[in-house]
Symmetry: C2
Subunit: 176 residues, 2 copies
């Protein structure tokens, strides 16, 4: 599955109001704790990959994110499996190392084929992510156009191309 | 969790009969397909570790097995998480490589604190595994004594110390 998304720094109150005016519907609101892992023998910062274990209540989800595509920085392969049990212990036994824990309160809104997330991220601030799913590289352009159109309508101007992990590392570990 | 187990080559028909005479109860019978993976940068054959994805019906279980303990070859650390979705794709994206697919029909019997598995393994033959769980290294000796006592009562004499993966590799890939 290709995930196409764009993140913006924004005031969530205003965006929420605009979204509801447009007829978007709140799907759910939850706290998410994302633990990012470093690979035992690849430097994910170099390869632009990520491995994340997301816990939300009793749900556990493991996601691998491939490198952002050269043709389009907003698109990347995402593979996800849901899990139960001590996934982190299995990963650590395999040599993966925790590099960051990112906590956020997230509201998911649905707007046509798009998912809009209003994120209040601990230590990083407030962001809006607009996401579409593309089944092929060809449909990435289409998804991107839908994202841009909605961003425009919501008055989102401050694009952030870094991932939350990159933002976290730049602030808390003096990384890139 | 420390897994303590011993495997024996045996005629399943005879062992089943003995088990039922002893009052053991059949817990379940199922087909299991185990896919073993090689680590992207560690040689599991050298480190004596294993990563296995077991599918049985719609259940998916991911297990990491640590090296067999020096003090006692029958005991090793086992970490397990249940999963849903394309776990294999996530592992392959992370650089893990499939090295073996082992199919078996397994009957699980419960006998006091022990679990007895009657395994008909495709291409490898018939085996009985007796397993106990030990919470600490100290209780491993006790678990081992229980396993030996039951093996004796079941007339199991042909101990097999190799794992199914090792047996598989020795037959199908000319490995150790």
């Amino acid at each position: 599955m290709l995930e196409v998304e764009q993140k913006y720094r924004a005031d969530l109150g205003k965006v929420r109001e605009e979204l509801l005016k447009l007829g978007a519907s709140l799907v759910e609101a939850k706290e998410e704790v994302d633990v990012y892992f470093q690979h035992p023998c690849r430097d994910f910062a170099e390869t632009d990959e990520a491995l994340r274990v997301r816990r939300s209540g009793s749900d556990v989800e493991v996601s691998y994110k491939g490198p952002r595509m050269r043709s389009n920085a907003k698109a990347r392969l995402e593979l996800t499996a849901s899990a139960e049990g001590d996934v982190e212990a299995v990963l650590e036994a395999l040599g993966f190392k925790k590099v960051a824990v990112i906590k956020k309160r997230r509201e998911y809104y649905s707007y046509g084929p798009l998912t809009v997330s209003l994120d209040d991220v601990e230590g990083l601030g407030q962001f809006v992510e607009i996401e579409a799913v593309a089944s092929s590289e060809r449909s990435v352009g289409e998804a991107e156009a839908e994202i841009s159109a909605l961003a425009e309508r919501l008055g989102l101007r401050e694009r952030v191309d870094a991932t939350y992990l990159e933002l976290y590392l730049s602030i808390f570990k003096g990384g890139v």
